[in-house]
């Protein structure tokens, strides 16, 4: 703490932020230039006006950003633009963001100048310059953002705008790589958006800077979502796979910008996101951010080694450089991770990261552009046909050598300086009680070794190999010379006087994050060319040279195929799954179509029609007629003359009953009763029950044997037969009408005839009369059955 205060006194932190509209005006000016570029292309398509305006736009951006940089030295400038996009934008000109913005604008200028030659008068050049200007303007917005909302807006515009640069050539390869780039970009953007919404939910805003409310599982989720989105852009393993596809297919100036500038937005985003869970300098618990840093460290080391290893075996120059970018993003990632792992002393990691961002931007853009220069002459990118293609271009070769030595980390060149800082950050961690970092340090050296091998191969192939056959080396143009000279000298300057750049350019970035402490003091007087860092770099250089020689003998060929678990394939497979789900949804959707219900409705309507016709009253007419005829029969049977005869019979019956009531006739009855009583009495003799018991036992035996289940089978079979017959009988619904109706008629006719007979034969009247009554009951029953069966037919038969 005391040390910190001391450091504060000696190197005062920038003063607090001031309100000023300068950043907003700068952004507006930069954005306003974009349509001018498009207009220039439209109005003067055949002239070089477009190029002039584009270069002027880059220059303007660089100038304005540099102006803001000087303004921000006095303290950050905050501009609020309320109302835009509902939330309102907040811009800040602070040295943290402007550090990146300056690098971006500077390289953009170089790449735009190179594009004048590379794109030339090719097709759709207006589109290229327009979207290039749009990306640059949005990048300025991105680095001027003061909150995550603003950051996200410009991040998305950069993502989409750079897509157009990637697919500029419009070949099938470019389109495929572009699709991957675009959709991963959108996925990353949505991940960030989700994180932002969570951030607002937890803290009520999207402000940058430490937030206490995020120290919760939900807060960590938010930070993770933000980091995921930015890590895709930063090409961190395992989400790096878009990068080696997209960078080679883009036109070379765009590749240089993608590798040198645009992927750095991801780094800046991660830096800002993880800073959310640091407690801020001078207090609080660093545990969370240290853990996050350790996770980042693992990811970064993986990225670094994977990229470098894969770069060794690439046969396409731009693909090699793209993998190299992956690997270099790993280095930057290590610096970033150490910023958080070292907690309060994170200044060393941050300075290393910032310095490496600068250096990587410089040498990777240079390498891409110089490979592009050679491509313009040879129109080939595969290393086999590029042998010695750079001979005859001395300045290009020299600049390429400077960049190669830079990336390899040769002392005296720029990559050495920043790698030394990152390496020192690792050592610092080891000294601060994290001995596990020793492993990281060894891996770091291993990565550097592979880096040396692959860049050595690239340089060797392009400039040292003897060309095969007749391919005669081309000359360099003056623009190329100027570009090579400018970039080469810048790199040399950075490499030879690293302290000047560290002090003047990188440390303001570190200060902006509020670091102090003894590491900062150490940084102010960092000795890059002391024995100790020089010793650290030598093994990497030496072993790298050995590796290069070894692999050269093998022809840099080992059969590499993607392992089945590679993320790229997992993504492709899950996309296929998604496609399947979509197709399934389509099937479900078409199954919901109400038109499918139409046939059912039609059947229902037809049924209703059948029902309807069966309700026709004319069908009841024959029934009514039968009923009337029946009524007539009943009526005739009610004839009173027939009642007279009935009355006589009744009188005779009454006389019989009367005479039977004579008490004298009861005597024989009593006698008979007495005899019956005697019989009953004798029958109560128990001995007589014996044969009965015997019979009962025999009966029981019979019942028992009849319970034998095997007999039930026969019964069952018979029942089934009966049921089948019944069924057949019932199913022939018309039977009821066809056979029963006539049978009824026949029986009624018989009854009628019998009635007629009765009239002439009164002697048989008594017998006939009884049968007639029976017939009436029977006919009523039959009519009832007919009615019921008709109903059954009507309601069941139609189904």
């Amino acid at each position: 703490m005391i040390q910190g205060l001391w450091a504060l006194a000696e190197y005062p932190l920038p003063a607090g932020p001031r309100e000023s509209l300068a950043p907003a005006w700068v952004l507006l000016a930069v954005l306003a230039v974009v349509p001018l570029v498009g207009l220039a292309g439209l109005l003067a398509p055949r002239r070089r006006v477009l190029e002039a305006v584009s270069v002027a736009a880059s220059l303007l951006t660089l100038g304005l950003v540099a102006w803001l940089w000087t303004l921000a030295g006095e303290g950050a400038l905050i501009a609020r633009v309320p109302g835009v996009l509902a939330q309102g934008l907040v811009l800040v000109a602070s040295r943290e963001g402007l550090f990146f913005a300056l690098i971006s604008a500077g390289l953009w200028l170089a790449a735009t100048v190179f594009a004048v030659e590379y794109i030339g008068m090719g097709p759709a050049r207006t589109r290229y310059y327009l979207f290039s200007a749009l990306c640059l303007a949005s990048l300025a917005g991105f680095y001027l953002a003061a909150d995550f909302f603003t950051l996200f807006i410009f991040f998305e515009v950069v993502s989409l705008g750079s897509y157009v640069l990637v697919v500029h050539e419009q070949t099938d390869e470019a389109l495929a790589a572009g699709r991957l780039y675009l959709y991963l970009g959108i996925f990353g953007g949505l991940s960030i958006l989700g994180g932002l919404a969570l951030l607002v939910g937890l803290t009520g805003g999207t402000a940058m800077g430490p937030a206490e409310a995020l120290r919760s599982p939900a807060g960590l989720l938010a930070v993770f979502a933000l980091c995921l989105g930015f890590a895709i852009k930063a090409g961190q393993a395992p989400l790096h796979f878009w990068l080696p596809r997209a960078h080679p297919v883009a036109p070379t100036p765009a590749s240089a910008l993608l590798s040198g500038v645009i992927i750095k937005t991801g780094v800046y985003g991660i830096l800002r996101s993880v800073s959310l869970i640091t407690p801020g300098y001078g207090g609080g618990d660093w545990g969370l951010s240290v853990t996050a840093g350790q996770v980042l460290l693992v990811v970064a080391l993986t990225t670094m080694l994977l990229g470098a290893f894969l770069a060794l075996f690439q046969d396409n120059a731009k693909r090699l450089l793209a993998y190299s970018s992956v690997s270099q993003m790993g280095y930057i990632g290590v610096g970033l991770a150490m910023t958080f792992v070292l907690a309060e002393e994170g200044a060393m990691g941050l300075a290393g990261m910032g310095f490496h961002v600068l250096n990587h931007a410089l040498y990777k853009s240079t390498l891409f552009m110089l490979v592009g220069v050679i491509y313009l002459k040879v129109h080939r990118l595969d290393l086999a046909s590029l042998k010695g293609a750079g001979r005859g271009m001395p300045l290009v070769g020299a600049a390429f050598l400077v960049a190669t030595f830079g990336i390899a980390g040769v002392p005296g060149l720029n990559g050495y300086a920043s790698k030394t800082l990152i390496h020192d950050a690792l050592l610092e961690g080891i000294h601060h009680g994290m001995p596990n970092l020793r492993v990281a340090e060894i891996l770091f050296t291993l990565g550097s070794m592979m880096t040396v091998a692959y860049v050595a191969r690239l340089f060797y192939t392009l400039f040292l190999c003897r060309p095969d056959g007749s391919a005669h080396p081309a000359r360099e143009t003056s623009l190329e010379r100027g570009l090579a000279l400018g970039l080469g000298l810048t790199m040399l300057y950075v490499g030879l006087r690293p302290n000047v750049w560290l002090e003047g350019f990188v440390l303001p970035l570190v200060n902006g994050f509020g670091y102090a402490g003894h590491t900062l003091k150490h940084l102010h007087h960092f000795e890059f060319f002391a024995a100790h860092p020089l010793q650290a770099v030598l093994p990497a250089l030496g072993l790298g040279g050995v590796l290069f020689l070894f692999l050269r003998r093998r022809g840099f060929a080992i059969g590499l195929t993607l392992p089945s678990w590679s993320v790229e394939r997992v993504v492709a497979r899950s996309l296929r799954c998604g496609e399947g789900v979509c197709r399934l949804a389509t099937v479900v959707d078409s199954a919901l179509d109400p038109v499918r219900a139409v046939p059912v409705g039609q059947e229902a309507c037809r049924l209703a029609a059948v029902l309807d016709s069966s309700l026709d009253p004319t069908r009841a007419v024959p029934l009514g007629q039968e009923a009337c005829r029946l009524a007539a029969v009943v009526d005739s049977s009610l004839d009173p003359t027939r009642a007279a005869i009935l009355g006589q019979e009744a009188a005779r019956l009454a006389a019989l009953v009367d005479s039977s009531l004579d008490p004298t006739r009861a005597a024989p009855l009593g006698r008979e009763a007495a005899r019956l009583a005697a019989v009953v009495d004798s029958s109560l003799d128990p001995t007589r029950a014996v044969p009965l018991g015997r019979e009962a036992a025999r009966l029981a035996a019979m019942v028992d044997s009849s319970l034998d289940p095997s007999r039930a089978v026969d019964h069952g079979r018979r029942a089934v037969g009966a049921a089948a017959r019944l069924d057949a009988w019932l199913s022939s619904g018309s039977f009821w009408l066809r056979s029963l109706g006539p049978r009824l008629l026949r029986s009624l006719a018989q009854a009628d005839a019998a009635m007629g007979e009765g009239d002439v034969q009164p002697a048989g009247l008594r017998r006939r009369g009884r049968s007639l009554m029976n017939l009436n009951v029977a006919s009523l029953v039959i009519v009832g059955v007919i009615m019921i069966s008709l109903l059954v037919f009507v309601f069941m038969g139609g189904w």
Partner: protein
């Protein structure tokens, strides 16, 4: 709760009456003078827009414009325009004006133009009346007045598909109306009133009141294209003439969502739904609608069919927003009404130009049309990006507000549905744009394209000249205006629709 000022004027009745009379007049005039009829229809839509906008002074004061007409007693017609109704009816009139203007050229030389214009204008009357209705009964009448003439627009082409689609549309609409009628009667039975603008007519949760809710949900869900009641939509929208599709997709299906909004917040009331949790029915259905609509859209290759399924997905977002029940979600929701209406109608208008100029409907054949129709495809791109939710466009604003609203409501998982919706939208919109602008596979085979290819380069001296087959100015103006409003409103510090949406959300949440 502050009492809203009521301004009794006859303005809403006038606004509804003008297109109604205009429709009849247009048919009659159109029998003799075609161009007079065309401009009359434009004029009618324009007059409706001007009159709608003229209510702004009342609305700005937080007031409500009220009209009661003693016709169709005993209930009587009543209009009640609050800030929500104002925003949506102005939007309706504006988009109608643009689509009618677009029709001037698009419908030239088509058959049945007289019928088309008359019913287009009649439908406007219905749509405006629906948004300005003061009670459920009036809502119902105008809802029908809008839905039934729209069938004539659907059937316009008179092909077999058109007839089938129109029949399906008609039957599902009528089926939905029956449910609405049931719920209307039940609401009257339960509360003795069907007036809107109160905070909860139905206050007791009984089986009957739930049935009433379900009836509203079904009837309005049919119109809003809510899964599984959406099946008329992907058939009806593609077969209609493009300006009519734009209105069907941009405005008409919004009336269903609008009705749902009124039913949820004014018939039942916020507090009632929070107590009973009935909104979770709509919540579930809306997520299904989002995922289903977007997933199916990916598998469709007919441009207008894909747009129709996209409409279903977007309606899912709108329904989700209203059922989250938080103020920010509701702000985003109302703004999404606006954002989606503008962008979706622009997309359909662009689809009309593509169909008219190149005869292509299949997305896979779109290679190179970005060079043939540069302005059209630029408008298409902007609108598509809006619906994906790319900043800095309208759709991003609404999705951002909706996501925040999901957090406010304590249901952050629903924000994931919105993110998934954006990803899926990107998956089905961007390929169209990319094929149109970047795919060169067809250009080599078709030399005729060269005539229009990059004419800007060829006419160097003159400079600016559009492709020979680019749409005429009459068709371009509406598309460009709509595409511009996708960006302008979001970027402007004074986001006028968003402010109205905020006011509307506050009013509903009171």
């Amino acid at each position: 709760m502050q009492q809203a000022f009521e301004f009794p004027t006859a303005m809403p009745a006038l606004i509804v009456l003008i297109p109604m009379v205009g429709a009849v007049l247009a048919y009659w005039v159109g029998l003799r003078w075609e161009s007079v009829r065309n401009w009359l229809c434009v004029l009618v839509a324009g007059a409706s827009l001007v009159l709608c906008l003229s209510m702004y002074p009342f609305i700005r004061e937080g007031g409500v414009v009220v009209t009661r007409l003693p016709v169709l007693l005993p209930l009587g017609l009543s209009f009640r325009v609050d800030v929500l109704g104002y925003l949506l009816s102005s939007l309706t009139a504006a988009i109608w004006l643009l689509a009618t203007f677009y029709s001037l050229d698009y419908m030239k030389g088509e058959h049945g133009v007289n019928r088309y214009y008359a019913f287009l204008t009649l439908t406007l009357s219905g749509a405006l009346g629906t948004f300005m209705a003061g009670d459920l009964f009036t809502f119902f009448l105008f809802f029908e007045l809008m839905s039934l003439p729209a069938a004539v627009l659907v059937i316009h082409e008179e092909t077999r598909e058109a007839v089938q689609a129109a029949l399906k549309y008609l039957f599902m609409t009528i089926g939905g109306s029956l449910f609405f009628f049931f719920s209307l009667v039940a609401t009257y039975q339960l509360s003795g009133s069907v007036a809107l603008g109160t905070k909860g007519l139905i206050t007791v949760a009984t089986p009957l009141s739930f049935l009433t809710f379900a009836g509203f949900l079904i009837s309005l869900g049919v119109k809003a294209g809510m899964v599984p009641l959406h099946m008329w939509l992907p058939d009806a929208h593609p077969v209609a003439p493009s300006p009519a599709s734009a209105l069907l997709s941009g405005i008409m299906i919004k009336t269903g969502a609008y009705g749902m909004l009124r039913v949820m917040y004014e018939v039942y009331g916020l507090e009632f739904l929070q107590r009973t949790g009935w909104n979770s029915v709509l919540l579930t259905l809306s997520v299904i609608t989002i995922l289903m609509g977007s997933a199916v859209a990916i598998t469709q290759f007919d441009l207008k069919r894909r747009l129709a399924y996209s409409s279903i997905g977007q309606m899912g977002c709108i329904l989700l927003g209203m059922s989250l029940m938080s103020e920010r979600a509701l702000t985003g929701d109302v703004f999404h009404f606006f954002a989606d209406a503008v962008a979706k109608s622009c997309l359909f208008l662009c689809a009309g130009v593509i169909l008219k100029r190149t005869g292509k409907r299949d997305i896979r054949q779109f290679a190179g049309i970005g060079h043939l129709l540069p302005v059209t495809m630029a408008c298409f791109t902007v609108s598509a990006l809006t619906l994906v939710g790319i900043p800095p466009l309208n759709g991003f604003v609404s999705k951002w507000q909706l996501s925040l609203g999901a957090f406010d409501a304590g249901m952050p998982a629903y924000a994931l549905a919105l993110l998934a919706s954006s990803m899926l939208n990107a998956a089905y919109y961007l390929p169209i744009v990319l094929t149109a602008f970047f795919d060169r596979s067809v250009q080599k085979e078709a030399p005729a394209v060269g005539v229009a290819l990059n004419p800007i380069v060829k006419k160097g001296a003159i400079g600016w000249q559009l492709g020979s087959i680019e749409a005429s100015a009459i068709m371009l103006v509406p598309m460009v205006l709509l595409a511009l409003s996708c960006a302008v409103f979001a970027l402007s510090p004074q986001n006028w629709p968003l402010r109205l949406a905020e006011m509307a959300a506050r009013l509903l949440m009171q």
